[in-house]
C-alpha cells in the first residue's frame, strides 16, 4: 500500500513538473513555445548533425548569442511602440557614377551610371551590355519620386548592336552614351527612350 502511494505521489509530482514548465513558458511567450536556437538556425537538429565540425562551430557561435539574449545575459528592452520620426530622404546622388547593378536586374553588365534630379524626380540611367550578347548594348532607366518610390523601371536595348555602352555626358535629361565600337547614342529621359 505504501509503495503504491509513493509511486502515485512520484507520478503526480513528475506530471505536474512536466505540465507546469511548458505552461509557464507558454504563458510567458504569448502562448508560443521557444524553439531551440540550433533549430532556428538550421531548421532541424538533423541538419545540424550532418555538418562538418567547422560549420557546427559557426552555428554554435550564432546560437550562443540567442541563448544569452533569452537568458537575460544580454539585457532586453521593453516592447514599447516608439516609432522614429518620419525623416526626409537623404540627398540623391548626381553625376556620372561608378558601375553597380540595378536592383533585381542580372541580365546586364553595367559600365557606369548617370544619376540626377529633374524636377522632383530622381533618375538613374544604368548603361552597359547584355550578359548573353556582348554586342547588344542596353540601359536600365529607374525613376523615383521625391519619397524614393519607383515610378518607372524599364530596360531598353540600344537601337543598334555596337557593344557595351557607357554614359559620357548629360544635359537637361539628354544623355550621351558611347559604345565600345565608337558609336554614339542619345537617350532622352523625358521620352524614356533613345532618340532617333
Amino acid at each position: 500500500m505504501k509503495i503504491r502511494k509513493k509511486v502515485l505521489m512520484a507520478g503526480i509530482v513528475g506530471t505536474l513538473l512536466i505540465v507546469s514548465i511548458p505552461i509557464a513558458s507558454y504563458a510567458s511567450t504569448g502562448n508560443k513555445l521557444f524553439k531551440n536556437p540550433i533549430d532556428i538556425l538550421m531548421g532541424s537538429k538533423d541538419a545540424y548533425d550532418k555538418l562538418p565540425k567547422e560549420k557546427k562551430d559557426e552555428i554554435d557561435k550564432e546560437a550562443k548569442h540567442l541563448e544569452q539574449a533569452r537568458a537575460g545575459i544580454i539585457k532586453q528592452a521593453p516592447k514599447n511602440d516608439v516609432r522614429p520620426q518620419k525623416e526626409k530622404q537623404a540627398p540623391f546622388d548626381s553625376g556620372i557614377m561608378d558601375k553597380e547593378a540595378p536592383p533585381g536586374v542580372n541580365d546586364i553588365m553595367v559600365s557606369n551610371i548617370w544619376r540626377g534630379t529633374l524636377g522632383n524626380q530622381k533618375i538613374s540611367l544604368y548603361a552597359g551590355v547584355k550578359v548573353d550578347d556582348a554586342e547588344q548594348g542596353a540601359v536600365v532607366l529607374d525613376i523615383m519620386d521625391e519619397n524614393n518610390k519607383t515610378i518607372v523601371f524599364k530596360e531598353l536595348n540600344t537601337p543598334d548592336k555596337a557593344g557595351a555602352v557607357k554614359v559620357v555626358k548629360e544635359s537637361g535629361g539628354v544623355i550621351t552614351l558611347e559604345s565600345d565600337n565608337g558609336v554614339t547614342f542619345t537617350f532622352n529621359v523625358n521620352n524614356q527612350d533613345f532618340q532617333k
Binding site: 513555445l33 538556425l41 531548421g43 539574449a69 520620426q85 525623416e87 530622404q89 558601375k99 519607383t150
Partner: protein
C-alpha cells in the same frame, strides 16, 4: 503484497504513458513550423529609419498573429559598397548613399520594429540578412572587413532586441559581376574580422552544370573565372558562408545548379551543402513588369523546385528552413 505491487506497476505505467504523451505533444508543437509561408525581402532604396521600423513591425505583427512559433529570414539588400567624398564607407541604396553607421541604424530599427511588433509573442524569431553585392568597383578585402564590421555594429545597436532577431551578413555574389578572385578577396576580408557574424550568399551560380558530370575544375561559364569549386567556396566552403540562393528561373535551371553544388559538396568536400532556403523575385517582377515569364518563380515554386531535387537524393536530402521573395521598397 503481490497484488499491491501489480497494481502499483499498472498505475506507474499509466502515469509514464501520460508523461510520454505530454512530452511528445510538446515536441510536435515545437517542431511544427516549417516555411509554409514566405517572408518578403527588400531592395532598400529608402534612408528612412521610420520606414525600416515599420517593415520590421509589420513582419512582427504577422508572426504574432500566426499560430505557433514563427522562425523566418528577411534579406535587406542595400546595393553595392561605396565610399563617399570623405572616404567614409557605406552602400549605394541605388542612389541614396548611406554610411555604414547609417545602414547599421536602419538594420537595428528593422530589428526593433520586429521585436515590438511581435507583442506578447516572445518566442518567434527572424534572421535579418544585411546584404551588399559584388557588382560595384570595391570588391576587395577591405570592403569585406568593412561589411563585417557594419554587421557587428548593427548587432550591437540591436542587442536589446536580440532575443528575437539574429542579424547576419549577406552578399549577392553573382558570377557575371566580379571575378572569383576579387570575390574571394572580399570573403577573406569579411572572415578575418574578429567575432564576425556568418553571412548568407544570396547570389547565383550562373552557367554552373545542371546535369552531367563535373570535376573540381569545371568552369561555370566557358572562359569565365568561376569554377564550380569557386561557387561552392563563396556559398559554403568559406567558414562564414551559407547559401540562400536565387531560384528565379521557371524552367528549373537554377534549382538544378544549386542541387549539383550541394552534391558537389558530398562528392568532393566534407559533405552535402546545407542550403538555408530559397530567394524568389515574384513580387519585384510584378512591380517592374520587366521579368517576363522565365524568371518569375513564386516563393513556393522556388522552394519546391530546389527541395524536390535535394530530397530526391539521399546524399543531399534536407529541409531548408527559409523561403523569401524580394520586392522594391519604397513600393509603387
Amino acid at each position: 503484497m503481490f497484488v499491491n505491487q501489480t497494481s502499483s506497476l499498472k498505475w506507474l505505467s499509466i502515469v509514464v504513458a501520460f508523461m510520454m504523451a505530454l512530452i511528445s505533444l510538446q515536441l510536435s508543437y515545437a517542431e511544427a513550423a516549417q516555411p509554409d509561408d514566405y517572408t518578403t525581402s527588400y531592395y532598400i532604396k529608402t534612408s528612412s529609419t521610420s520606414d525600416l521600423y515599420t517593415l520590421g513591425y509589420n513582419l512582427g505583427q504577422r508572426d504574432y498573429n500566426k499560430s505557433g512559433t514563427q522562425t523566418n529570414a528577411v534579406i535587406l539588400f542595400f546595393g553595392a559598397q561605396q565610399k563617399n567624398a570623405s572616404g567614409v564607407w557605406g552602400a549605394s541604396l541605388w542612389g541614396t548613399f548611406q554610411t555604414n553607421a547609417q545602414i547599421a541604424t536602419l538594420a537595428s530599427e528593422f530589428a526593433r520594429g520586429y521585436y515590438v511588433g511581435t507583442s506578447s509573442d516572445t518566442a518567434s524569431t527572424t534572421t535579418i540578412i544585411l546584404s551588399t553585392n559584388n557588382s560595384g568597383s570595391l570588391i576587395t578585402s577591405e570592403a569585406g572587413q568593412q561589411w563585417a564590421n557594419m554587421v557587428l555594429t548593427a548587432r550591437s545597436n540591436a542587442s536589446a532586441y536580440s532575443s528575437q532577431s539574429i542579424i547576419i551578413g549577406g552578399n549577392d555574389m553573382e558570377i557575371a559581376w566580379a571575378t572569383a578572385a576579387k570575390t574571394k578577396d572580399w570573403i577573406s576580408g569579411y572572415d578575418g574580422v574578429q567575432g564576425r557574424a556568418i553571412y548568407y550568399d544570396t547570389g547565383d551560380a550562373a552557367g554552373c552544370p545542371t546535369s552531367g558530370t563535373y570535376s573540381t575544375s569545371t568552369q561555370c561559364i566557358s572562359g569565365n573565372t568561376w569554377s564550380i569549386d569557386d561557387v561552392h567556396y563563396k556559398a559554403y566552403g568559406a567558414p562564414p558562408a551559407w547559401p540562400l540562393p536565387q531560384i528565379y528561373t521557371t524552367n528549373g535551371s537554377q534549382a538544378a545548379q544549386w542541387y549539383r553544388i550541394s552534391l558537389y559538396g558530398y562528392d568532393y568536400k566534407s559533405g552535402a551543402v546545407q542550403v538555408k532556403g530559397t530567394l524568389s523575385q515574384y513580387q519585384a517582377c510584378q512591380q517592374t513588369n520587366s521579368c517576363g515569364t522565365s524568371t518569375n518563380n513564386t516563393a513556393a515554386q522556388a522552394y519546391n523546385s530546389l527541395s524536390t531535387l535535394l530530397n530526391g537524393n539521399t546524399h543531399t536530402a534536407q529541409t531548408m528552413p527559409f523561403s523569401t521573395d524580394v520586392k522594391h521598397y519604397p513600393q509603387w
